[in-house]
Amino acid sequence: MSTTTDPQGGTFRLSMLLNDTRYRSMTLQAIAAIVLALALLYLYSNLAANLRAAGLNISFAFLGSPAGYDINQTLIDYNSQSTNLRAAVVGVLNTLLVAFLACVTATVFGVLAGVLRLSNNWLVSKLMAFYVEIFRNIPVLIWIVIIFTIMIAVLPGPRAFRGDDATSSMLFDLFAFTNRGVYVPGPYFTRGIGGEGGSIINWLLVIVVLVGSLFATRAVTARANNIQAATGVRPKTLWTNLAIWFVPIIALLFILGLSWDVPALKGFNFAGGIKVGGPLIALWFALSIYTGAFIAENVRAGIQAVSKGQTEAASALGLRPNRVMSLVVLPQALRVIIPPLISQYLNITKNSSLAIAVGYADITATLGGITLNQTGRAIECVLLLMLFYLVISLLISAFMNVYNNSMKLKER
């Protein structure tokens, strides 16, 4: 037996390392390992030599020292005495914020444009084709710069709102569109728990109530389904559901004394309300409208990938066109649309690093920008920056794999 599988057993020659398929892969891998190790060693020795020559060292101690600079958009408490690490966290949150917002709006733009491009309306479909081609074929960085310039140059500065001969005025006296950002009324509680202005507990309370309503409506729907299954008659649930949604939350907001903080011109800027900064808007809008063009193509491809027979079959069953779309075409198209959609989300997250062009304080601008400049710790900062993006994209890919597996065509 052994002689057939190992005819030359025992007489091992060196040339067999390359010519014998049993050993060749081992040899090649060993060579690869050695080459890789040598290459890494070479790079490392260069790095060490260069750092020694420059008298530098690799140290992450700077993360614990005060950052010393201010950031204009902070989702958590931050001041110039906070540490560099906290500045980086502020940046991370800002990155995630703009990425999330842009993903939502890009999907809306993309789905709208993709569906409208397939519209029977000649003008609309041509217009959408124009939108898609224009945005797909011009670099996103140019779009970011253009949209930021439009914001800066077209919207009025807060100065224009001042005085009796003001050239600009607020929309409904509630919203102010300035080239520093958009100011909208912000909610607050006058009778909130934990003092005026409201602590985070109030908002938690609101969320708890909303989640409660969600579960309650689900229960109502489940009950309706049961009754329908048992008797064939579906009880009306609309009014019950509406009541469950609205009554508790309105009552709660009334008890807490919800009120709106309307922005007003005060000193140099508008004060009060919520400010959505200009850089955020420019980046958000540019990323959404650019990526929207790509998503539109994905959506179009997805819808066209559903074979015509499906539409015809659905029509033959007597479904109306919009039900054909929602019940037959879209569910099948989603299977094709979602994977590229998620990789577009990934692209948005990565492209948000271009925030640096408009001065939005994302992770690239805090950790990879000002912190890097002030501490001079280039290697450490860039490594941390790459690590962050890597973690984000690995998380998204992992999610995508899970989704793909669950959406796979289940064949019998």
Binding site: L18, S25, L28, Q29, A32, A33, L36, L43, N46, L47, A49, N50, L51, A53, L116, S119, N120, N121, W122, L123, V124, L127, E133, I134, R136, N137, I138, P139, V140, L141, I142, V145, I146, T149, A153, K350, N351, S353, L354, I356, A357, T364, G368, L372, A378, I379, V382, L385, M386, Y389, L390, I392, S393, L394, S397
Partner: protein, 431 residues
């Protein structure tokens, strides 16, 4: 019966009526309008809305465009000429076109060199893009990188010549040795090429005056030329690396597979801008002390790594799309791995991947504008830096950005149109 019937009818037309024209609503332009623009009331509403949008866009841009000033030496002069009317100040383009295209430090009298290289690029690309052209033209494609290098950077022709000779020697050795085994041929070829280059490296410094064009350091390259150079160089360099990575990722050898997987996923996971930061602030530390590898080369290295990871994924898709039978057929013919790949698998897989590769190429070309963030003066860098900062043209945004949009759109749109044409041509199924 028939008789009676015949008499009960007072009149029988003996000639047929001329066909009546169809109702107005069902013909010509009206029908087209009805079907395509006003099929339903919602559709009509959409049409009106679209018309309004088009009107808004045109009314904003047309006066600005047609009323534009093309000759002036500064924005102030431009505004004087316009005298309060709406109009673009395109004089900035006529005055600074050379900086936008070539950067501000490329010597004026040498513009013909990159321009010639650009024209020759079409000749070199033609046989690659259009399969019907005679295959002999590929020789020029092979020579092109060396000619273009010589034209753009200048210096002695010996440098690119020796590089070329190295490739030729390597190829000859490869062909000779390939008969015994692919590995021997491959490594022998690489070795021979390196030896040739080493010899060339010793010889060229002494003959630096031979057929020398005026040398231009790469720091002086800028403008749209820089985008072009980065795009073309990085895409062409990343193709072979991408193929190797894709094959490596499919390999049965776990170590090689994992090296490729980690590399690809790492590069795809980080934004290009961080890789450019690496090129800009980190990479210099990884070269041997004292070698000042210039920024252009560092950026080329990083962008090439970046795009090769994406191209690898596209080609992996092509490889995965091949039916298993193809691999088994190659095996059953007794072909070894390199032969099977070269003769059977890759030609088909690459054909499937071409549209994907073209997409990556377009994306990469657009991404070359990111180098403006790391203080390289590509077209966007020129606009945002020296031109807008100059006293004369401080404030001319739309004209300059519009110009950048136009040049990118022309190139990217033609490439994507080509890609669609190719897809139609390559579609040999579903007939």
């Amino acid at each position: 019966m028939s008789d009676a019937h015949a008499h009960s009818v007072a009149f029988v037309r003996e000639t047929s009526l001329p066909p009546a024209p169809p109702p107005v609503a069902e013909t010509g332009i009206v029908k087209w309008l009805r079907e395509n623009l006003f099929a339903t009331w919602a559709n009509g509403l959409l049409t009106v809305a679209s018309l309004y949008v088009i009107y808004l866009i045109l009314s904003a841009t047309m006066p600005w465009f047609f009323n534009g000033v093309w000759i002036a030496s500064s924005l102030a002069e431009c505004r004087e000429i316009l005298d309060g009317t709406t109009g673009g100040c395109f004089a900035v383009l006529t005055e600074r076109w050379n900086q936008l295209l070539f950067g501000f430090t490329y010597p004026n009298e040498l513009y013909w060199r990159p321009s010639l290289a650009f024209v020759m690029l079409f000749a070199a690309l033609a046989p690659v893009l259009f399969f019907d052209l005679p295959r002999k033209l590929l020789i020029f494609t092979g020579l092109y990188p060396f000619i273009a290098y010589w034209l753009i950077w200048g210096g002695s022709i010996l440098v690119p010549l020796f590089a070329l000779v190295g490739f030729i020697v390597g190829y000859v050795v490869y062909v000779r040795l390939e008969k015994t085994s692919f590995a021997a041929g491959f490594f022998g070829g690489v070795g021979a090429a390196l030896v040739t280059w080493a010899i060339g490296g010793y010889i060229t410094p002494f003959l630096s005056g031979v057929l020398a064009l005026e040398a231009v350091p790469s720091r002086n390259m800028g403008g749209y030329m820089l985008n072009m150079m980065l795009g073309v160089t990085c895409v062409s360099l990343s193709l072979p690396i991408g193929i190797a990575l894709a094959l490596g990722r499919q390999s049965s050898m776990p170590l090689i597979k994992w090296i490729c997987v980690i590399f690809i996923e790492f590069v795809r996971g980080v934004p290009l801008i961080t890789l450019l930061f690496v090129a800009n602030v980190m990479l210099a530390y990884f070269f041997p002390p004292g070698t000042g590898v210039d920024l252009f080369l560092r950026v080329v290295i990083m962008i090439t790594l970046f795009s090769s990871a994406y191209i690898a994924e596209v080609i992996r898709g092509g490889l995965a799309a091949l039916p298993k039978g193809q691999y088994e057929a190659a095996d059953s013919l007794g072909l070894d791995y390199p032969q099977a790949m070269r003769l059977i698998i890759l030609p088909q897989a690459l054909k499937i991947s071409i549209p994907g590769i073209v997409n990556i190429a377009v994306g990469l070309f657009k991404d070359t504008t990111l180098v403006s963030v790391i203080s390289m003066f590509d077209i966007l860098g020129m606009i945002r830096g020296p031109i807008l900062a100059s006293t004369d043209w401080n404030g001319v945004y739309w004209e300059l950005l519009g110009f950048a949009c136009v040049v990118f759109f022309v190139v990217c749109y033609s490439i994507s149109q080509y890609s669609q044409w190719l897809e139609r041509r390559l579609a040999t199924d579903h007939r």
